[in-house]
Subunit: 287 residues, 2 copies
DNA sequence: TCGGATTACGTGCACCGTAATGATC
DNA sequence: GATCATTACGGTGCACGTAATCCGA
């Protein structure tokens, strides 16, 4: 049986071009490598190196062996990754969401219905991404804007969210009861970057707008508090985020500004998620 | 980096179902396995076994890991096999032949034209097998009954062989100048088993015949010398096998009893075999 | 003379086996 | 008490590093 370190050494010598260079890269002494390769050759019963001439180098057989060694080492890495990932999947429930707000609702629901498993959400911008991830098992559930038709999916709506803009009182639109996306044309908005589908939606709906995406919620809040730039705010049942002070909140009247979130799982796993479905709030019919 | 023996131990424990059984199978002590698995778990940072209850057994994660470990071990075996095979291919020229006789001719030719590389032949019964082996690189050249048409192949005829039967003088056909396959119907023949295409040919052409296949040429010769059973003999240019004593050799007159052997290589390797083609004898136009 | 591989030699770690202990039926 | 895994302990092989040697440029 060939030990791993022999293959690692061989691959490194091939990559570096000499024993000396590989020894440095591997943090071992040159003699150690020399002996290791002698051992490998003796175990294989084969000459991998051309010796005796100027400097020992890999022969054609050695290069082929190094090539193949990399395959084995990759399989080795795959083993580690697969085991670690499986362990992780056992401990945390990974799901995706088309927007951040549903995650706030689902957090307590998961904590209550699936005790002992931490839930972890990825927010993505498109439903296609999420369905692909579900299909490949990278996530176990998803929050979408609809329940995909067909027998492969099980889902139901559980939360409604409505998009508004927050404006300084001096803004030209601050007196309005409601605005449309078209009214916001040309404005520059400050917003959190990871808002899922909202960002591509706004990009598509608001002509000539500029979006200053922030990496964190804190940065967004801070800039909003210290500038006159318009920003977004959403009305959600049991919202945890207070409306920013000193700002006027104006709802957007377009139909697309209202999102109805569905919790969706593959039909094959519907039974596992029955408690979650039972604990989900009903979608607020108002708003 | 995970050492090979840890994966081997894990796979064996999964296969055997317990540490004790695996320890016996691996010729190590039980504590050694126990420690090895503890080490593996600590390196992976994962619990592979369910401990504390009755008897330690693989958990779901452990089974998955064992599964994957087998993949890695197979890759490891593949590495060894590939390197050894590549080394072998460097030292010996492997080719296939549709019959044994051409091998006797080619032996000296290879020895002369490709010094330092030993030639080794496999005798097969069908051209399909040989062409497949050529295509997959399992052999570098082949002796066929024709040169396959098209630009992919390069070949030329170099030897003619003619099939005869050897009969005891008392045999009903011993006086004939020649016989046909049909004349031999119902006979029982002694013959060497590995004669390539000749065996299926005779099976197809001689009705109701029985063939007593022998594993070695010596066994065949010995039985022929001590029995009245008909046998085969071939007339080949520079034949090295003398006709058996006390027997009558009668040629078979059917067209199929004459074979014209072609030496064939993939066109891509024609240049490498140029010296071989040059040294091959011309096919005997007589006979 | 120098850069780089191999050989020589002593050391320490890590794996091993035996023996004792623990745990569960 | 029997079976099986784990812990304890002493031994040893093996891979390591340092140092010396060898060999071409």
């Amino acid at each position: 049986m060939i030990e791993t370190y022999l293959l690692r050494d061989l691959a490194e010598i091939d990559r570096c071009g000499s024993f000396t260079a590989a020894a440095k890269a591997l943090f071992v002494s040159q003699p150690a490598l020399s002996r290791a390769m002698q051992k490998l050759e003796s175990q294989l019963g084969v000459e991998l190196f051309v010796r005796g001439s100027a400097r020992t180098a890999l022969g054609p057989l050695g290069r082929l062996a190094a090539e193949h060694a990399r395959v084995v080492l990759a399989a080795m890495d795959g083993f580690e990754a697969a085991v670690r990932e499986a362990d992780r999947a056992r401990r945390v429930l990974r799901y995706g969401s088309i927007a951040p707000a549903p995650v706030w609702t689902l957090g307590p629901v998961f904590a209550q219905t699936i005790p002992g498993r931490e839930a972890e959400a990825d927010v993505r911008e498109t439903e296609e991404e999420l369905l692909a991830a579900l299909g490949e098992g990278r996530i176990e559930a998803a929050v979408l804007l609809r329940t995909p038709p067909g027998p492969d999916w099980r889902g139901r709506p559980f939360l409604r969210e409505h998009l508004c803009v927050t404006l300084p009182p001096v803004h030209r639109l601050a007196r309005r009861k409601a605005v449309s996306f078209a009214d916001l044309a040309g404005e520059t908005f400050v917003l959190f970057g990871k808002v899922g589908f909202w960002l591509p939606l706004c990009r598509a709906k608001i002509p000539r707008a500029t979006f200053l995406e922030q990496g964190t919620l804190e940065a967004t809040r801070s800039i909003v508090a210290n500038s006159d730039l318009p920003a977004f705010f959403t009305a959600v049942a049991a919202s945890r985020v207070p409306a920013p002070e000193g700002r006027v909140v104006v709802p957007i009247r377009d139909r697309e500004a209202t999102a109805l979130y569905h919790f969706v799982v593959p039909a094959s796993r519907a039974d596992d998620f029955e408690p979650v479905f039972a604990a989900l709030p009903g979608a607020d019919p108002d708003n």
